[in-house]
């Protein structure tokens, strides 16, 4: 869509800077919670001596429980009717509960057995992830419904994604903080204190979106006028409704295209994250850890700065050419960046490893900016066809898919590295075939995944014109049901 055809955002649909900022604070908390356990878990192995396989299990099991709790929470939130709305109460209570739980789960008492710590942390993790879901699912859904405008949604997601990056900047420093022997006697004590600091931050900052944002939609009481039923029948009915909603959601083609696009682009890059480090250290730097670490650090810095710039650029370009085309453009740049790695891994010119960093960052910057906005458009289409607003269900399934994919990518990464023949004891003296296969995996898996992501999203049908048509239909319908909504609001 050309710039002149692009619609201006009506004043009523515009969000203030304060609203965007309040929602973006949730992005910081969400990313912090999502990444903190992964970055701090090294303490379980290094500080408490828990077997790495058990540590891996500790991180994998909550992903399985998420499969149930995420959509259930989405359903509960979608169906909730309260004077404070259907998202904000959960965000408020969830932020405080998850902050408290995060602080508690790291208070590992000293002098216990490996299995004690395993069970202590496993139970703590499961409860933590329950509260995390309680906070994150309604917060994600709230973002989809804060504005109905096609472009304002992208701007909101851009601000959220931009602010959320600050969590990713801070996470890699956690280990250095916990290990600081001037601050703490050991890394376990460091983890205890750091967890309290994070917990307090999460509880306070995470509650901000619930306090300062207003919900746009009110759940329609589908049961009004129906006769009262027993609790058991109520549960049965809700389970049946939940399952029906789940099936409806996962059968929606436009939603599946977005899921596929995200799954492949995101996990293609996650899968080879470790490979890039290994190739930089052992191939490009010949096993010189210092030199490799220097280039990895520079790569990370360039990548972060580029991601922040990409988010701003993508938000702007999307308002000119539309979300789908912007996604394809950004993902294509990432694909080219991935392919460029084949030429940039040069032991005679190690600095070349930095060249693809800005290009790879573009796709990642675009992904969670555009996808959130596009899912909100799908929610409108879904409402048009089903009469329900189910941001919670869409958001929860989408993010569960992201989390599951990430867990699979991390797990598969180790197997792939072994399959290349990599032996850590050989240092830089790996065989040529090992380096060849490491580079093949590192270059072509994310490039191929990006291509699949482009193909998946290329046929996404909700263009700006279609989104406006849908919105117009919904507004007409809303006007007809306005008296009912007003009556419900005043209850």
């Amino acid at each position: 869509m050309s710039a002149k055809n692009s619609q201006q955002t009506p004043q009523k649909d515009k969000l203030s800077n304060g609203q965007m900022f309040a929602y973006g604070l949730g992005g910081i908390v969400n990313n912090l919670l999502g990444g903190a356990i992964g970055f701090m878990s090294i303490v379980l192995n290094v500080g408490l001596g828990i077997n790495p396989a058990l540590v891996g299990t500790l991180q994998a099991i909550p992903r399985l429980t998420d499969a149930i709790t995420d959509p259930v929470m989405g359903y509960i939130s979608d169906k909730t009717r309260s004077r404070y709305g259907r998202r904000r109460p959960y965000i408020f209570i969830g932020a405080i509960a998850v902050g408290l739980m995060f602080a508690l789960m790291w208070q590992l008492p000293p002098g216990n057995s490996e299995m004690f710590y395993f069970w202590f942390f496993l139970i703590g993790s499961i409860i933590f992830y329950l509260f995390y879901t309680m906070f994150a699912t309604p917060w994600v859904a709230l973002g989809y419904e804060l504005t109905t405008d096609y472009h304002e949604r992208t701007r909101l997601m851009g601000v959220m994604n931009f602010m959320g990056q600050f969590a990713w900047i801070s996470l890699p420093w956690f280990y250095a903080i916990m290990e600081n022997d001037r601050l703490f006697s050991d890394s376990v004590e460091g983890a205890r204190t750091l967890a309290i600091v994070i917990g307090v931050f999460v509880a306070i900052v995470g509650a901000v979106p619930a306090i300062f944002l207003k919900e746009k939609f009110v759940a329609v009481d589908a049961d009004s006028g129906e006769k009262k039923i027993s609790m058991l029948e109520g549960i049965k009915k809700n389970v049946a409704e939940f399952l029906k909603g789940l099936v409806t959601t996962v059968k929606r083609p436009e939603f599946l295209k977005l899921c596929a696009g995200t799954f492949f682009l995101f996990n293609g890059i996650m899968l080879v994250g470790a490979f890039s480090s290994y190739i930089t250290i052992f191939y490009v730097s010949g096993g010189d850890n210092d030199m490799g670490a220097k280039y990895m650090g520079l790569f990370g810095t360039i990548n972060t700065i580029s991601t922040l710039m990409a988010i701003a650029a993508v938000t702007w370009i999307s308002s000119k050419i539309g979300k789908r085309k912007t996604f394809i453009l950004a993902t294509s740049i990432t694909m080219i960046g991935s392919l460029l790695k084949w030429f940039s891994y040069d032991p005679m010119a190690p600095w070349k490893v930095l060249l693809p960093a800005p290009m790879i960052a573009v796709g990642m910057g675009a992904l969670f900016t555009l996808m959130g906005s596009m899912i909100a458009d799908v929610c409108d289409l879904d409402e048009l066809e089903t009469g329900e607003r189910r941001e919670g269900m869409f958001g929860s399934i989408y993010w569960w898919m992201v989390k599951l994919g990430m867990a699979l990518a991390f797990g598969l990464s180790g197997y792939l590295l072994n399959a290349t023949g990599f032996e850590v004891e050989l240092g830089g003296a790996q065989s040529s075939s090992t380096f060849f296969w490491m580079r093949i995996v590192d270059v072509f898996i994310p490039a191929a995944a990006a291509l699949i992501a482009i193909i998946s999203v290329a046929s996404f049908k909700i263009t700006e014109e279609r989104a406006l048509e849908i919105r117009s239909e919904l507004e007409k319908r809303k006007a007809k049901t306005a008296p009912v909504s007003a009556a419900l609001s005043s209850e």
Binding site: R182, G286, A429
Partner: protein, 342 residues
């Protein structure tokens, strides 16, 4: 203040708090020495400073000292490189005595002569200085640990690889270097023990010689004349590979050769298929692991094993590029570019 300006200020604030704050902690970790920092002074004595294998060991030691000083805020590790220009056991003894006089906390030494150094090491330990050996041990001394290869195991690895290359049959010989060198004796024992598992392999003998290129090649030439059907050599050192002359008396690939050590000068033999396997020693780790071990014992008060084994790295045409880059990373400068891009 307008809301938008407030948001910008707040965002900048968060950036500083989360990024700058972390940076500050990192700098605190790395740069500032608080009061009460424990300085650990280590004297490192290799065999000779004109030998590049020891130059890389020095690089490893200095790198470990820097990393450990960064890791522990209350510890500063100093490495004092005190190595004779050429091999001289008496000079090493003098350096040990000087280190004791100057209150070094620990000494790392590769012994040029175990008998001469044993008493000096014992005197240092009695004076309260911890000593560990690397590369070349003084096993009867009071040193607390030795870091080096398992020579017998290296011999076994050579024999097994030679058996693989010759399909376990035919005449082979062992090039033995100095008959009195204890480490070479162990390597030869390892080869002979392993060959017992290959009944169709015929070891025509172990050949000793002065440890230089010319004598080693002359000996090999005479053995070839005695046994024209010889198909393999197991070399416990790489003396014939320290120049180009070996190429004049053998054809690439006709006789299978496996040897210990994989220095830059030897790599052309692997590239041109004169030699099928070299067992390289990660000499950089001599220094790195030794300094880390000293810190483990003196600062962390941890138990240290009496012998810490260095694992040799097999080098063949398959990983010639990787090994070349690794050598460069360890500080070797005379590596042809064609190997570095393999």
């Amino acid at each position: 203040m307008k809301l938008s300006n407030f948001i910008i200020v707040l965002l900048v604030g968060i950036s500083f708090a989360m990024f700058g704050g972390c940076q500050e902690i990192s700098e605190e970790l790395a740069d500032i020495d608080p009061e009460g920092v424990d300085t650990l002074r280590i004297t490192m004595i290799a065999k000779s400073s004109d030998n590049p294998v020891f130059t890389t060991a020095k690089k490893g030691a200095l790198q470990a000292a820097e990393e450990l000083s960064e890791k522990y805020s209350m510890l500063h590790v100093e490495v004092d490189w005190e190595t004779p220009a050429t091999e001289d056991a008496n000079r090493q003894v003098e350096i040990i005595r000087k280190a004791v006089r100057e209150n070094a906390d620990a000494i790392i030494v590769s012994c040029s002569d175990r008998d001469s150094l044993t008493s000096a090491i014992n005197a240092a330990v009695d004076a309260g200085v911890e000593v560990m050996t690397f590369d070349s041990d003084a096993p009867e001394s009071k040193r607390f640990t030795f870091y080096g290869p398992d020579d017998e195991k290296m011999g076994e690895m050579l024999a097994d690889k030679l058996a693989e290359l010759t399909e376990g049959k035919g005449k082979i010989a062992i090039l033995g270097g100095n008959q009195d060198a204890p480490n070479l004796k162990k390597r030869i024992n390892g080869i002979q023990n392993a060959l017992a598992d290959y009944p169709d392999m015929d070891n025509v003998g172990t050949y000793y010689h002065p440890e230089n290129e010319v004598d080693a090649i002359a000996l090999m030439d005479s053995v070839h004349k005695m046994y024209p059907d010889l198909i393999g050599w197991a070399m416990v050192g790489s003396w014939p590979l320290f120049g180009d002359k070996l190429m004049d008396i053998i054809e690439p690939g006709k006789i299978k050769i496996v040897a210990i050590d994989a220095l830059p000068v030897q790599l052309k033999y692997v590239e041109q298929n004169y030699v099928q396997l070299l067992l390289g020693q990660p000499t950089f780790r001599w220094g790195k692991i030794s300094v880390e071990t000293i810190v483990e014992k003196l600062h962390e008060k941890e138990e240290v094993k009496e012998i810490i084994r260095l694992k040799p790295i097999p080098v063949s045409i398959e990983n010639l590029g990787g090994w070349s880059r690794q050598l460069r990373a360890w500080g070797y400068t005379d590596i042809p570019e064609k190997y570095l891009v393999m």
